[in-house]
Symmetry: C3
Subunit: 146 residues, 3 copies
Amino acid sequence: MIDTASLPAAPAFALAATALLLKTTLTSVLQVLSRLRAGVFPIPEDARLLRRPVATSEAAFVERCARVWRNDGENLPMFFAVALAYTLLGASADSAASLFGAYVLLRYVHTAVFLAGLQPWRALSYVAGLAVCWSIAVKSLQLALC
Amino acid sequence: MIDTASLPAAPAFALAATALLLKTTLTSVLQVLSRLRAGVFPIPEDARLLRRPVATSEAAFVERCARVWRNDGENLPMFFAVALAYTLLGASADSAASLFGAYVLLRYVHTAVFLAGLQPWRALSYVAGLAVCWSIAVKSLQLALC
Amino acid sequence: MIDTASLPAAPAFALAATALLLKTTLTSVLQVLSRLRAGVFPIPEDARLLRRPVATSEAAFVERCARVWRNDGENLPMFFAVALAYTLLGASADSAASLFGAYVLLRYVHTAVFLAGLQPWRALSYVAGLAVCWSIAVKSLQLALC
């Protein structure tokens, strides 16, 4: 029905969205498994379900997974927004594949080094991902305004 | 202007986005009302405005609303991303209506049982919503790659 | 390649997404600078990198930046979703420019008054931004259903 040639970057966007969904799904699984392993449940009904006392805070590694999730919740929407703007303005398949691919790779690195607690790698991968977002934004504005 | 036949899933996406905006709006209203009712304000200027002492943490039900919001902030962007990829790749109106409708319904259930503190229903509705996201992602990749 | 006349609101969306990326980038920079200035690091590897003891919580202004980020992480995705629905359904360039522009402006005001700790301005700018989202949603539904 749709003339797929009219939005050549859409397949690259679909791949990037799925790759990032895989990453957040893995973070969720890791968080649940490490919460079960630590046996620490700050939400009353979770504690009740697992017959444990209610905890006042999360276990350290569970809290680390939560920080990864929070960082994704704050940053991925900005990527999706600029990537979709770029896609809708007719970005080429090649340019989208390089930029979206670089962002996905950098966010996988960011998650891995955040979970492992490695600095300055977390800061560097964060800034590099942000730089890719800015490249996409600038290229979108060029298509929008020229 | 636009040939609406070219993106047949766009109306279903607009409906899903609006239904989820309604859900997050209701969560905000509930959070504000329960904060006022509890009279507990951890942000200094809020406490000053309502002539209350500054609290060190949120009231329990306000914290529960915050957890619902946080869960939405982490999960809804992933749905929007895969649903938009699917829409841009020419998903049919029927397929989009079923999948997007199922996701919206499951997130309403998730919010209701999270607020009511019911397990294992929260975990089940969460996993079911995630499974719908994966269905959309897989169908997008089929459209993108075939 | 793409007939840009077919999605007349796409340039306005690209501008709004970039303006909001600028806002969240500035929030990140402010958060990092104020964390360095306060010398308070709750994440162990950050404390180690800067040769500081591990803190049990963030400094007050860093926590305020985190609240701004969290509020953006919860609210910007809802704007992106309804704005993209509106764009895909063929919104006019003028209507999109006014609505998206108003939202961006209100979120800049919200961030400024949140950082400055000014109430009731924070609540008012929040509700006004939400009202703009609802206008976009209602207009999308009109395009979708009529």
